[in-house]
Structure formats: structure tokens, C-alpha cells
């Protein structure tokens, strides 16, 4: 493997598991999950003051020394997402932004029209734009042209745990952009096999939130997910065998004794 690290703008990290911090109320469990995941990058959101445990969260993330990837979660227009990204840049002093522009509150599916517009605007203002998008190769092309620094296709709707519903589309995106920008599977992962599958397909990383934070034992699931991501990454670079219709013996027949 020529390059064992993942580069996102100026950030270079070894772990290919990005952890979402939403969906868990117990910060001690979140802390353990972050440690067990061995992640170096966690997502955070922006919300009005007084609405969450912000003080404790700031302290926790400072202590763990993980890099922060702010998101624009909840934005429904390019304008809203752009303003949120600018607030995030001022607060976190990073140009990294996980750009989310959703169409509605029921499916939480990305609105590709608004997403492309926001990507172009933010990329022009020197943001490192990681685009949460549909598993549509054509939209991926639009995002790349608009200046996306990473493409983050969904496997399935956020929080659904349905896995990768259309692996062929993920492969089409990988086929076109694999060596141009990082492809990070985002949303829909339900269990470690989904994360492993994404990495075996050739994704550069996966982002997991609910599958870890809403598991019955988040730290244990975080560890399982980290192992799966590593396994999938190594497997992708190992070159798997061709599938065969019929069996092929692994034990040679030469030298086999005869008893009749």
C-alpha cells in the first residue's frame, strides 16, 4: 500500500473510521467509544447555546485530542448550509466542513441541487468540502466539478442501519473518482459487516454514527467497527480471488496415496 494515510486538506490521519458523535446521551460512553474506535476525526454540529451539554462536550473532545469535523446538519438550503459552515470555521478554526443539505426531515436524503450550489460557493471560499450526497454517480461528478474535496455517498438513509443498498452505484463512484478525491461511505451503516463491505469495495473511509452511538454497548461496537474497517481496507489492497462457478482444490492431488 503506497499511501497508508487519509488526507483531507491539510489533515492527514491514519484511522479510516470517522465517528459521528450524535445519538448518545452519556458522555462517558461517548468518550469510551471514541477511544475504542481509535478514530482521529469526529463530527460535531452547531446548535444555539443552551440547548445541549456543550461545556462538557468541549472539555471531553479537548481531552481526547481528536480532530473535529463540523457539519451543517439540518440545513435545507444552500444559503443556510453556507452560513453554518462559516460559523463553524470561526468557532473551530478549521476549513473542514461536512456539508449536509437535506431535502426533508423524514428521509433526511440530500437535496442535490442545493448541495452542488453550496459546494461550489464554499470551495470558492477555500473550505475543504466533504459532501454528504446520494449514491448517484452523476451528482458525484457535479460535486467534483464544483470543488468537492471528498465525496461521501450514503449507503442508506441516515440512522436507518440498512447497510449499502446500492453497492453498484458506490462502485461506479469509486471507479470514476477513486484516485481523484477520497470516497467516504456515509450513513446507513448498521453493523461492522457494512463497514467492511464499504472498505472492500475500495472506499477510503467510512463515517459511522448511529451504528455505534445507538448500539447497546457503544464502546464495544466502536472496537468492532474499527476492526472491520481495518479488515476491509487490508482486504481491498490484498486482491481477492476470482469467484468460480466450480470448486478448485487447494490441496494438491500429486502424491496422494492410493488405497485400492
Amino acid at each position: 500500500m503506497k499511501n497508508d494515510t487519509l488526507k483531507l486538506g491539510n489533515l492527514e490521519i491514519s484511522s479510516r473510521l470517522i465517528l459521528g458523535t450524535g445519538g448518545i446521551t452519556n458522555l462517558e460512553l461517548l468518550s469510551q467509544a471514541i477511544k475504542e474506535s481509535q478514530t482521529e476525526l469526529v463530527t460535531v454540529a452547531l446548535r444555539r447555546i443552551g440547548n445541549s451539554n456543550s461545556g462538557s462536550l468541549i472539555k471531553l473532545l479537548d481531552e481526547l485530542k481528536v480532530n473535529l469535523l463540523p457539519n451543517t446538519a439540518g440545513s435545507k438550503t444552500a444559503q443556510e448550509a453556507i452560513l453554518t459552515a462559516k460559523l463553524a470555521r470561526d468557532l473551530f478554526e478549521t476549513n473542514l466542513i461536512k456539508l449536509e443539505v437535506i431535502a426533508d426531515d423524514t428521509t433526511l436524503l440530500p437535496d442535490p441541487i442545493e448541495l452542488v450550489a453550496a459546494t461550489e460557493s464554499l470551495a470558492n471560499e477555500d473550505f475543504i468540502v466533504l459532501c454528504y450526497t446520494n449514491d448517484d454517480p452523476v451528482i458525484a461528478r457535479r460535486l467534483y466539478s464544483a470543488g468537492a474535496a471528498a465525496i461521501m455517498p450514503l449507503g442508506a438513509p441516515i440512522g436507518s442501519g440498512l447497510g449499502i443498498r446500492n453497492p453498484h452505484n458506490i462502485e461506479l463512484i469509486l471507479n470514476e473518482f477513486k484516485n481523484k478525491v477520497p470516497i467516504i461511505l456515509d450513513a446507513g451503516i448498521g453493523s461492522p459487516k457494512d463497514a467492511l463491505f464499504a472498505m472492500e469495495l475500495g472506499c477510503d473511509a467510512v463515517l459511522v454514527a448511529s451504528a455505534i452511538t445507538r448500539a447497546q454497548n457503544p464502546p464495544l461496537m466502536a472496537r468492532a467497527m474499527a476492526l472491520a474497517v481495518t479488515a476491509g481496507y487490508l482486504a481491498y489492497h490484498s486482491g481477492r480471488i476470482e469467484k468460480r462457478f466450480l470448486a478448485k482444490a487447494s490441496t494438491p492431488l500429486k502424491g496422494k496415496p492410493t488405497f485400492n
Binding site: A45, R48, L57, L87
Partner: protein
């Protein structure tokens, strides 16, 4: 003067700069906030010089958990 702060009306008895408003509404966050006024981000570097004015629509946000 009256402003709209995080979606609600807020009455201020004197003119404040952004820095002073943050101290008043978020004393426990040690400045770990970001501010938009009338849909424009007020960067940290301008918190002392930027004065709040009548009718401003102010959003002050901070870190929260999110995926």
C-alpha cells in the same frame, strides 16, 4: 433596545458589543461560540468592535453532538 436573540426577543438596557453580549448570555462557554448577526458571521476578531444595534437578529451557536 430590542433585538432578536436565538429566536426570542431580548431587551438590552445599554448598547453592547458582541463580546459583551457573549459574556452576558454564555458566561460558561469561555468564548467557544460563533455569532451571526442579520445572516452575516461576525468573526472573533470583530467581537469587540462590532456593536449590537436595534432590531438586530442575532444567532449565537456552540458545539453540539452530531453525526
Amino acid at each position: 433596545m430590542e433585538v432578536k436573540f436565538n429566536g426570542k426577543a431580548l431587551f438590552l438596557d445599554e448598547q453592547l458589543c458582541v463580546q459583551e453580549l457573549i459574556k452576558r448570555v454564555a458566561p460558561d462557554l469561555d468564548g467557544k461560540v460563533a455569532v451571526a448577526i442579520n445572516k452575516e458571521v461576525i468573526p472573533k476578531s470583530s467581537w469587540q468592535s462590532h456593536k449590537i444595534t436595534e432590531g438586530d437578529v442575532i444567532e449565537i451557536v456552540t458545539i453540539a453532538q452530531g453525526g
